[in-house]
């Protein structure tokens, strides 16, 4: 494949969602099934195919099918590969083997397969609704209300917008959370990180549990069942917290000179660890001074540059962070943020004994990441590295630390055949290339390998009744390193793609529904560019 071809392919796969694309040379599979809710057909739900490993494709590239009035769906033009099938139906949750599940179903498409009966059973979720009011019964609008499961820990601060277990009150203080999976929950109003609301000028109330408690352990648990509606779960909250400002200056660590126009981010800490951050709204003025408003009592650090820095034309010239800043009950003044210069790296990519120009062209469809690890407890610097068509690269704005690189797939259907073999500095391979502040490193070489073999296997378990579902994982080892992985789908098929050539150890953990996992091990010899066909016959141990 050339770079042009793979871009085209990517484009066509995205078309395949609706338009029929004819690509006779490339076999394509079909997936179909039925979606029901409480035993009845569910129309208008979406079944999605996610590419394994769990990389979230863009919405427009996701292969999907909508269920009709009989609950049936069909996804055609699926290119060979490993997928997870999942269903989206707002207000409902997935029931698998009688239990609520967020489990994704592994599906392996090996050619022009037609996989049917990938069915999903959904249940209508529970509902909790009520009002959030002040102590004198005034409604509190636009307050976050969350549902906290009895056992799970605090949901992460970075919640997707439509997560069903977190909503905001309306102008009357009314909230309604729906699609809740059965379980025991506490209901609370207010963000855990109040600075998000206060920094946005919104009322930041202390997290208050139903009915009016600040302490989580004392708050009652609601037992929520399928389709059940809990009404009048009203929460009485105290007044919003006061917020304060942090005022300070950004200076060069070496010269002490103020740094104008620096983007300042706010890191929010709690119990000694970072809880979140805010960026994009604060900059130093011509005298290097900054003001950050709307911070409730808590621990913060001001960092330069602010965290959202990917994709900019002008990489940051400086980086640094303040000490911990405690905001208690007044503005904090005279904070000094000392910053150091970032490093500049450049070098070339070459391939191990292969035809380089065509591989370099192919590499254009792969996302290469560069990262530096500064040491325990410190933040890793991570950025996309653009490799030019001649293999050269350069990156400014790099922070100090140990240099590393990684590869990402560019999208559905893109090749995952590239591997980074080693990074060399001045011709010497090292796993410990240190980048120092302000350094200009020009002698890097990234050595890559291109692998394009695959192993297709079928599990044939003689003791298994026909129709019983299989599952499990397959690992490919080179010495003690895992170099390949695949899920076994319900029919017993698996596909390990993009493996190097050589002799490797293949380990399969096979699960037959309703019994203990079985393990098989064998050596497999793979030749470059070829697909090895395997049949695994696990034997039940006595």
């Amino acid at each position: 494949m050339t770079a042009r071809f793979s871009t085209l392919l990517l484009f066509c796969f995205s078309c395949a969602i609706q338009a029929q694309t004819s690509r006779p040379s490339e076999p394509q599979g079909t997936l179909s099934g039925r979606v029901t809710a409480q035993g009845k057909a569910l129309a208008g739900s979406v079944v999605l195919l996610w590419k394994q490993p769990m990389q979230e494709p863009l919405g427009i590239e996701t292969l999907s099918g909508l269920t009709d009035t009989d609950g049936n769906y069909r996804i055609s033009n699926v290119p060979p590969g490993n997928y997870y099938a999942s269903v989206t139906a707002p207000g409902f949750f997935l029931l698998e083997d009688g239990r609520p599940s967020r489990q994704l179903r592994p599906v392996v498409i090996t050619g022009s397969d037609s996989i049917d009966k990938i069915d999903f059973q959904l249940q209508r979720g529970g509902v909790v609704t009520g009002r959030v009011v002040t102590l004198d019964e005034k409604p509190l609008p636009e307050i976050t209300v969350v549902l906290l499961p009895e056992t799970a820990k605090e949901p992460s601060y970075n919640q997707p917008r439509k997560r069903p277990d977190s909503v905001k009150t309306d102008d009357r203080g009314i909230y309604r959370i729906f699609g809740i999976t059965p379980g025991r929950y506490r209901v609370a109003a207010g963000d855990l990180v109040t600075a998000y609301a206060s920094n946005n000028g919104k009322p930041a109330i202390t997290r208050t549990f139903y009915p009016n408690l600040v302490e989580e352990s004392k708050a009652p648990l609601l037992e929520i069942k399928t389709s059940q509606v809990w009404e009048n779960i009203n929460i009485k909250s105290g007044l919003p917290q006061s917020s304060f400002s942090i005022v300070g200056k950004v200076v060069d660590d070496q010269s002490g000179m103020p740094i104008p126009n620096a983007a300042c981010g706010i890191d929010i800490y709690g119990n000694g660890e970072i809880k979140g951050g805010i960026s994009g709204l604060n900059f130093t003025n011509a005298r290097g001074e900054f003001v950050v408003d709307g911070l409730t009592a808590g621990t913060y650090r001001i960092s330069v540059p602010s965290h959202l820095t990917f994709g900019t034309a002008e990489p940051p010239e400086y980086f640094g962070s303040s000490e911990d800043i405690e905001v208690v009950d007044h503005d904090v003044e005279s904070v000094i943020v000392k910053v150091s210069r970032t490093a500049t790296l450049s070098g070339t990519v070459r391939f191990e004994g292969a035809n380089e120009p065509s591989l370099l062209a192919k590499l254009q469809s792969v996302r290469v990441n560069l990262f530096t690890t500064p040491g325990p407890g410190k933040e890793i610097f991570f950025q996309r590295l653009v490799i030019n068509k001649d293999g050269s690269f350069s990156m400014r704005g790099v922070r100090p630390g140990t240099l590393g690189m990684s590869l990402n797939q560019a999208g559905v259907g893109a090749s995952n055949s590239f591997r980074i073999s080693r990074i060399e500095r001045a011709g010497v391979a090292s796993e410990d290339i240190q980048i120092t502040a302000g350094a200009e490193v020009t002698d890097l070489t990234v050595v890559m390998a291109y692998v394009n073999s695959s192993i297709h296997g079928t599990v044939k378990a003689p003791t298994v009744e026909p129709g019983v579902k299989l599952s499990g994982q397959v690992y490919l080892y080179s010495e003690k390193t895992v170099i390949g992985f695949a899920q076994i789908d319900e029919r017993g098929e698996f596909l390990i793609q993009d493996t190097p050539s050589g002799t490797f150890r293949l380990v399969a953990d096979i699960q037959v529904a309703g019994s203990k996992p079985l393990r098989t091990e064998q050596f497999v010899t793979v030749t470059a560019g070829a697909t090895v066909e395997l049949i695994l016959t696990p034997i039940r141990p006595n």
Partner: protein, 584 residues
């Protein structure tokens, strides 16, 4: 307020695009040198204070106030206290826009405009009213609730019945709950259409409604949508029977190697100001907007090249026409290109007149140099961006400025400054630039017409001269008998001196308030004729009134003014008060 100070505001799309841009946020140093010590005698920082009150003047606590420099991204925020008061300290001496929000409330505004500009030391009073509420239920053909579908209310008319293109964005949006119920609150009074569907494709999320066209209340397409009028504090019920019809897919490629790109699809007539958008993260070159109903559209890609705290640096593709007729549209290629820039300086000329001694001079860092784009009569290329405020510049301490983000079109420039005895005397360009746009020349030429700017243009040497000696006229428009003041009435001044007939800066207008009062400020001293004009009803377009760039237009205005106007003479630094204009 004098006419040259207002620019339209496209707030929602602005926020959307700003969001895109802050997502690819960053850091860059400007070429401007840090403030020298000579400025230290001036004020280094100050505050903006104010109060938020309700319709009866009662204090409104808990309102969120946002203060942003007119051409920067820095955002300062405050919350009104129990007395409705707020204060933001530590502000650099610049010009700021101040806006307010409070859930359920709104500011009563006939059409959306940029918030006014304030300096440090000023006091801002916001009067808010209870917004309207539109609520209802979305069901499918079987009568079952449609869950988690976006519902939008788009304002199409003012309370007085005049059309507005309020929001070029998705409008106020809320999602339905498990009963199919939605509730949109805090609506500006006016007439709305309500629609369900229209899913934003700027996330990786997949929803059941992605490929479906929006359904307008009660169960219609855009052409037959029902209208609903809400007043302040009023709640209206609007149910929609959702049709779930499959739309088409408009897709293609956009050059997006390093930067995230927004792709906007807008109905060609733009009647409802609605657009559909797809956001491409850096490195993704394919885009698709799905669920598009049949119709005529235009499509544009929009990119932020870099973020700088003082200005944004944008790229925009040409706007292409897209016709969707019963099939998908594929293969659209959009290439964002750098936009035009104009640099220059502001020159100040003091007056020797004794009446003008000891008056306040304009200060460079409290000036805003704004651009206005000429909307031609046959223009179809009306797109809501870049926001005009992204093409606003503040001069540095030497009076030099650079205006960025100017897409192809005809432009003119107007400075706003806080010095009532100063006026804009002239705008010049080096003649070589204005003629051939090539080699620099010491010769300059006064500009009396819109300036054509194309993609990627770099124009330098624009000089704006501010002169001291401005006067002002305040007064009232009186009808003959019980004549009512029309809502779009302007008092317009036309130069009476023959030798000033071609001086376009001597033509200016001011909107007449409902009580008939008007104020014209920053006027060059001289003789004028005052006439009244109803915007849009004159033979000349609003653009021609704003900038009478053709000799014909000027001649016509002078002829009309001479016959019906009343002459008024303004001496240097003179304020004419209680001036009466009779409405004929």
């Amino acid at each position: 307020m004098t006419k040259r100070f207002r620019v339209p505001r496209f707030n929602d799309i602005g926020a959307t695009i700003l969001l895109l841009i802050t997502c690819v946020g960053g850091f860059a140093q400007t070429s401007a040198p840090p403030n020298s010590q000579s400025l230290s005698a001036e004020v280094q920082s100050g505050s903006i204070t104010g109060q938020v009150v309700g319709e009866r003047g009662q204090p409104l606590p808990g309102a969120s106030i946002s203060i942003q420099p007119i051409n920067g991204l820095q955002q300062r925020i405050a919350t009104s206290d129990t007395s409705g008061n707020f204060k933001v300290t530590n502000l650099d001496p610049r010009l700021y826009r101040v806006s307010v929000s409070l859930p359920g409330y709104t500011i009563d505004q006939p059409s959306r405009t940029e918030p006014p500009v304030y300096r440090i030391g000023e006091n801002v009073r916001f009067q808010m009213i209870r917004g309207g509420v539109i609520t209802g239920k979305i069901t499918n053909a079987a009568g079952e609730p449609v869950i988690l579908i976006p519902v939008r209310a788009l304002r199409i008319r003012n309370p007085d019945g005049r059309g507005v293109v309020d929001s070029y964005s998705y409008g106020a949006v809320k999602f339905t709950d498990d009963r199919g119920v939605y509730r949109i609150y805090g609506l500006v009074p006016g007439t709305y259409v309500v629609l369900a569907g229209l899913v934003s494709r700027n996330t990786s999320e997949v929803t059941p409604y992605d490929n479906q066209t929006p359904t307008y209340a009660p169960s219609s397409t855009r052409d037959t949508a029902a209208e609903v009028t809400v007043h302040s504090g009023e709640e209206k019920e609007v149910d929609i029977r959702y049709r779930g019809e499959l739309g088409h897919r408009v897709s293609g490629k956009v050059r997006s190697e390093t930067f995230g790109t927004g792709v906007f699809l807008t109905p060609r007539d733009n009647e409802m100001g609605l657009f559909m958008m797809a956001y491409q993260p850096p490195g993704v070159s394919v885009f698709a907007i799905t669920g598009v109903p049949d119709g005529e559209y235009k499509i544009t890609a929009f990119q932020s090249l870099a973020q700088d705290p003082n200005t944004l640096n944008l790229a925009l593709s040409e706007t292409l026409a897209v016709s969707v007729k019963g099939a998908d549209v594929t293969g659209i290629e959009l290439t964002p290109k750098p936009l035009g820039r104009v640099s220059g300086q502001i020159v100040m000329v003091a007056s020797a007149a004794s009446e003008c001694q000891g008056k306040r001079k304009p200060v460079f860092n409290e000036m805003a140099l704004e651009t206005k784009r000429n909307i031609l009569k046959d223009e179809t290329d009306v797109i809501p961006f870049p926001r005009s405020s992204w093409s606003t510049a503040t001069p540095n301490k030497s009076g030099n400025f650079e205006l960025k983000n100017l897409r192809s079109g005809q432009y003119f420039f107007s400075p706003s400054f806080f010095a009532r005895y100063w006026y804009l005397q002239s705008v010049t360009l080096p003649s070589a630039v204005s003629n051939a746009r090539s080699a620099t020349s010491s010769k300059t030429e006064p500009i009396r017409d819109w300036i054509a700017i194309k993609f990627g243009d770099r124009i330098s040497g624009l000089t704006l001269t501010l002169a001291e000696g401005a006067g002002s006229v305040r007064g009232k428009v009186k009808g003959d008998t019980e004549t009512k003041i029309p809502p779009d009435l302007y008092v317009y001044l036309v130069p009476a001196e023959r030798e000033k007939a071609d001086d376009i800066f001597r033509y200016s207008g001011s909107k007449v308030e409902s009580d008939g009062s008007f104020a014209l400020n920053n006027l060059a001293p001289g003789r004028y004729w005052a006439i009244t004009q109803v915007a849009g009803s004159a033979q000349l377009s609003p653009e021609e009134l704003w900038l009478p760039s053709s000799a014909d237009a000027r001649q016509q205005l002078r002829r009309d003014a001479q016959s019906i106007g009343k002459e008024i003479s303004i001496k240097p630094c003179q304020n004419v008060n209680d001036y009466q204009v009779i409405l004929k």
